[in-house]
């Protein structure tokens, strides 16, 4: 028998948990038609499933720094596109091309990274030659 208090807690959890639930998700919340470049420095790399996450520090007008969060596809997809965990490392300076969040905010879906030495890394769900 579940106590009324516990039932209420479970009901509350039912409301709260979906907001914290993890998921492999659609990219429909990103504007995939308009890639945007952002120059910045990698702060962190989370090489995780189902999506990889990069936190990028970018300078804004006035010299202050702001943080952006970009996600990418999975380690499997990026690995098949030639990436390793070392392809983009904390401290790397680069231009990050991303599909912006439709809702706005400092985030997006990372598509390509261009380094100052001319090296670029990108990925595709379907392997390309």
């Amino acid at each position: 028998m579940i106590s009324s208090v516990r039932r209420k807690l479970l009901a509350l959890a039912g409301v709260v948990l979906p907001l914290a639930a993890s998921a492999h998700h659609s990219t429909a919340n990103y504007d995939m038609e308009h890639l945007v470049p952002l120059e910045g420095t990698v702060r962190t790399v989370s090489w995780t499933n189902p999506h990889i996450t990069f936190v990028i520090a970018a300078a804004k007008v006035g010299g202050e720094e702001e943080l952006w969060t970009f996600e990418a596809s999975s380690p499997g997809v990026l690995g098949r596109s030639g990436w390793t965990k070392q392809s983009v490392r904390p401290g790397d300076q680069a231009v990050f091309y991303y599909a912006p969040l439709r809702a706005g905010g400092h985030g997006g879906l990372l598509s390509k990274v261009a380094f100052p030495d001319g090296r670029t890394v990108s990925y595709s769900l379907t392997p390309v030659d």
């Binding site: 990219t27 499933n49 999506h51 098949r80």
Partner: protein, 260 residues
């Protein structure tokens, strides 16, 4: 010059014979070779969304239209919420992740990638379905080889398992679903899965559709460990200094938490 054409010919013939027999044996007693890592043809998945949509029942169609509208508006529904496996038939219909096909005596196994515990066992040892199947997200699958095809019958899929055409549009099958598949090679490295999905609670009739998967043997792809919940966790340390994972919450739409 010491050349012995006769010996060379015999040697080459022997080598080719050995290669042929190894080749044949590796094909598991003449069965078609599905072994390896297969990558879904995502572009074709997208084409199929409009070219051959499921015959949704009139009562279900408004739900689907709502989900499609939400997707177009940039508010995608989370079909793959809570890090559950895709389940059947969504795994075959709309995954973006690769899977590995293992052929062993009496069974075929599909190992997934990207979302935890994705595995299908298809028994090919002649057994039938249990009389009282325990519902599961991938159901109970039995298969038989018919010529160059693996013919699979799946029942016992949990009613919560989605019939999804992409990661944002799909609904639970609601129970009573049966899935027939004919898995076969249409090119040396292209696998076709011809599915017939009968789901009387949500489909007005059998839905026949095909999905394509491609193999790239020269690239030696491997399946990587894919725990979906990993993205919710960050590397941390407990009070004793042990390396642990600590919670790393996400946004309501499933994307990673913004940096600030």
């Amino acid at each position: 010059m010491g050349c012995k054409p006769g010996f060379s010919f015999v040697f080459v013939l022997l080598a080719l014979t050995c290669f042929y027999f190894n080749f044949t044996i590796s094909y598991a007693q003449g069965l078609p070779d599905f072994a390896g890592v297969w990558v879904p043809d995502v572009r074709d998945q997208v084409r199929q969304e409009s070219a051959n949509p499921p015959p949704w029942t009139p009562s279900v169609l408004p739900q689907i239209q709502h989900l499609a509208a939400e997707e177009r508006a940039g508010r995608p529904f989370l079909v793959l919420d809570h890090c559950l496996p895709y389940g059947m038939p969504s795994w075959m219909l709309m995954t973006h992740s690769a899977f590995e096909f293992l052929q062993t005596p009496g069974r075929v196994t599909l190992l997934g990638e990207g979302d935890g515990n994705r595995m299908r066992r298809i028994y090919t040892d002649g057994r039938g379905h249990p009389e009282d199947v325990d519902p599961s997200l991938h159901g109970h699958s039995i298969g038989r080889w018919e010529g160059d095809a693996l013919v699979v019958d799946t029942v016992g899929v949990a009613p919560q398992s989605y019939i999804a055409i992409n990661e944002a549009v799909g609904i639970p099958n609601d129970g009573g679903m049966r899935i027939s598949e004919r898995i076969h090679l249409v090119a040396p490295n292209t696998l076709a899965d011809d599915l017939t999905i009968v789901a009387p609670k949500v489909l007005s009739g059998p839905w026949k559709t095909t999905r394509l998967f491609r193999r790239y043997p020269e690239r030696h792809y491997e399946i990587v460990e894919g725990e979906c919940v990993q993205e919710d966790l960050a590397e941390g340390m407990d009070a004793y200094g042990n390396a642990i994972f600590v919670p790393h919450p996400q946004n309501p739409n499933g994307t990673a938490q913004l940096a600030h």
